[in-house]
Symmetry: C2
Subunit: 468 residues, 2 copies
Amino acid sequence: MPINSFVDYPMSWRPDKNALKRPIYQSLASLLEQEITNGFLAPGTKLPPQRELADFLDVNLTTITRAYKICETKGYIYAITGSGTFVSPNAARSVTISKDKTAVNCIDLGFVASFEQSNSHVALAAKKVMEKSYLEELLNYNDPTGILHHKMAGLSWINAFGIQSETEHIAIVSGAQNALAITLLALFEPGNRIAVDVFTYSNFIEISKMYRIQLVPVLGDEHGMLPSELDAQCRLLDIQGIFLMPSCSNPTTVVMSVERKKELADVIRDRHLILIEDDIHAFLTAGSFDDYMIPMFKLLPDQTVYICSTSKSLCSGLRVAYIVFGENFKKRIEKAIFNINVKTSSLDAEIITELILSGRAKEIVEEKKKLAQAANRIFSTYFPQAPSNGHPLSFYRWLPISSHGSAVQIESSLQSQGLRVFHSDRFLSGASVPNKFLRVALASTKSLEELETGLEILQKNISPFQCE
Amino acid sequence: MPINSFVDYPMSWRPDKNALKRPIYQSLASLLEQEITNGFLAPGTKLPPQRELADFLDVNLTTITRAYKICETKGYIYAITGSGTFVSPNAARSVTISKDKTAVNCIDLGFVASFEQSNSHVALAAKKVMEKSYLEELLNYNDPTGILHHKMAGLSWINAFGIQSETEHIAIVSGAQNALAITLLALFEPGNRIAVDVFTYSNFIEISKMYRIQLVPVLGDEHGMLPSELDAQCRLLDIQGIFLMPSCSNPTTVVMSVERKKELADVIRDRHLILIEDDIHAFLTAGSFDDYMIPMFKLLPDQTVYICSTSKSLCSGLRVAYIVFGENFKKRIEKAIFNINVKTSSLDAEIITELILSGRAKEIVEEKKKLAQAANRIFSTYFPQAPSNGHPLSFYRWLPISSHGSAVQIESSLQSQGLRVFHSDRFLSGASVPNKFLRVALASTKSLEELETGLEILQKNISPFQCE
DNA sequence: TCATTTGTGACTAAACATTTC
DNA sequence: AGAAATGTTTAGTCACAAATG
């Protein structure tokens, strides 16, 4: 029986007692889900404490726990012991980022492409592949994890980034996102937790949500995630994995220092976490930073799944990424590959292989690096006050903005000005944080001139951030 | 406190009480998991009833329920109310089927390939694509669900199989298995149930297991799944979906009659199921059967995800499949595509498109049909007693065998004779059934001569089935 | 620093539903 | 047809742990 009448009690959500059917916890969960997806409960809203709501509805405490849990695993809310339960920042919308048609009349600095100007080299390589005597061999079901010479070329490619491995421990998959989907399916279970940066790759957030894997945000500084914070979260929660982009974090452009990598590796080793290392930006970093040659895979070879896509470095349309793993993960990863892809097109892999073996790949990388340098220079002229301690050749920038206005408002007001960029809320792995940013893609326009036009629009429409 | 001493009680599994740590249910589940994966508890073994085990271990009934549940969602055991809990037929091993290297010294009639002899046509088409003026346009991130003219070609291709749709309701994905992975992720949740034939596509069983989706076996006859049985299962359980291959079931080669399709469609409509129609064999069936032109998608356009791969019909190495859906599924499916693939290689799709538009695709199909006819004829000479009421052009046959010997024994004894085939247990969606079969692939050898050699080995080593 | 607030997790109790005999 | 066997589901009790002020 309720102890108080609650009539004048300030509760952010007062579900209608009569709308509840049995089973109560399910009924309550779907009521809450509707409330959130319809926008009646705004992101960030604190929900009534479990005990209070239980009392109000005259049901047991754990009935509320269960109802909240359903909504939490679906990603609508998140709970912090001691503080309360809150509506998730991105509860009501998907943050999946893709190259879609909504940006058709816009300059698209949202989705990060990869200076597609270089694709003429790839077209040439494709033509060369057609002359191969073994062309027909590329068209059958054989070698689901990749043809031997494709794997060897892959190994030599990533060797430049500090990876040593063998053909039995590498597989060819269809791009980095595909590699992530495979890794999560192979090595994690629904309900598992993965540690991530506070701002992280938004499509990783989405795929984790779809797989019912919970992300645990861990604070970081300008050198990357803080080892002490990671350890603290591990003490608090049962965490199985960690996702990192040490060579250039998306979206923050943070490059992890070697010191930090070693410290984090110690925690990861002690806590027996599985590290997913997305090294898609290795090609930008190796060679540009003297001390780069230590991917975390090297520090934790038996605990790491190393993913290196060629979409950003060589060609985005050929879906080819390398995934490197230890013997202990081999069976599970290969099984997941069969179940999600069967195999990756050997024709595509052959073209990438041709690029690597002919040396054209390196030329493409040099070309893209030059374009990236030019694009970053242009960005700096438009936003001289923007911080520049991130990756100097990043394909995108992370621009601090004043915290007025909601993410949706800011994005759509810019879109109406003909510009597509993404607000930092899309990249939030957990609770809201006070600092707001825009991620500005530099590699997605047809030309640097178009980029300038876009940055001009942005400069005119964004309230300048007050540097403290 | 235990009521009986149990010392002389015949329990199939007597877990060591002292080995249990808290939490009991987890500890007990991993004990059981080990017992099964180590082979101490054989497939089919009946486990102690929950109450009995609870009594024996002196814990609450639902603690056992929870422990069993963990092992059930992992696929190690299955439970039937009223009957008991049993070790799954394929508990100790994966039934994922792929073209792998274990068959290197064998004639492989296990994995079903697709008469790769036709790939020279595809190589020609690939070369033609290289001459296209828009080749570079195929190498970027644009059009994640497929370029418009690829979709149009796809629509015209599947139009021959009775599908009418629009470019907004078709997407290009990387093969049929990829389409299944996407569909399950997009439209189902862990814990959902999908109705399937008693024997069904083994990689569908595996991907369902990985996604924690439960399969509900439904009895069928020579015309396909029985509508009355489907309805009965729906009454019993909360079932969300159904997976069917009406144009030629894998592995049973059953072709569903039009009458049966209509009856099943009625049940599916009434029960609001989502139908996953895998029509990979449409090219074998349309044209061969007069009344074929009714895929179930046509009967249930708003409830069906129609999947049509080109791997079997045109080329297995180019990973291209079409997925067709109603407006109500569009958003969810496209989101799943972004999160699993980002996109499918437009180069591969262009080659398939070239084949379709040039008319070469039809030639390839005719060639494969001729090969299939010849292969089926050869099979009949070696196994004249084998039933022939399935698909006359199937790329595999379903051979009844005597029920002596376990699946593993039979497969490995044949493998030691130089032949790889698969036992029907791999295709079991649920509990064991008395009838046993071998699936014999006819489309996987380099030549029909090699097929004959394989069938000869098979004939010599298999105890002939007693036709009743 | 310590009491209070708040969420978490394990196990228990009881009613329910289906199958078997 | 009905009792017994067997698995399922919901909600309750209770001890615990972190965050807050």
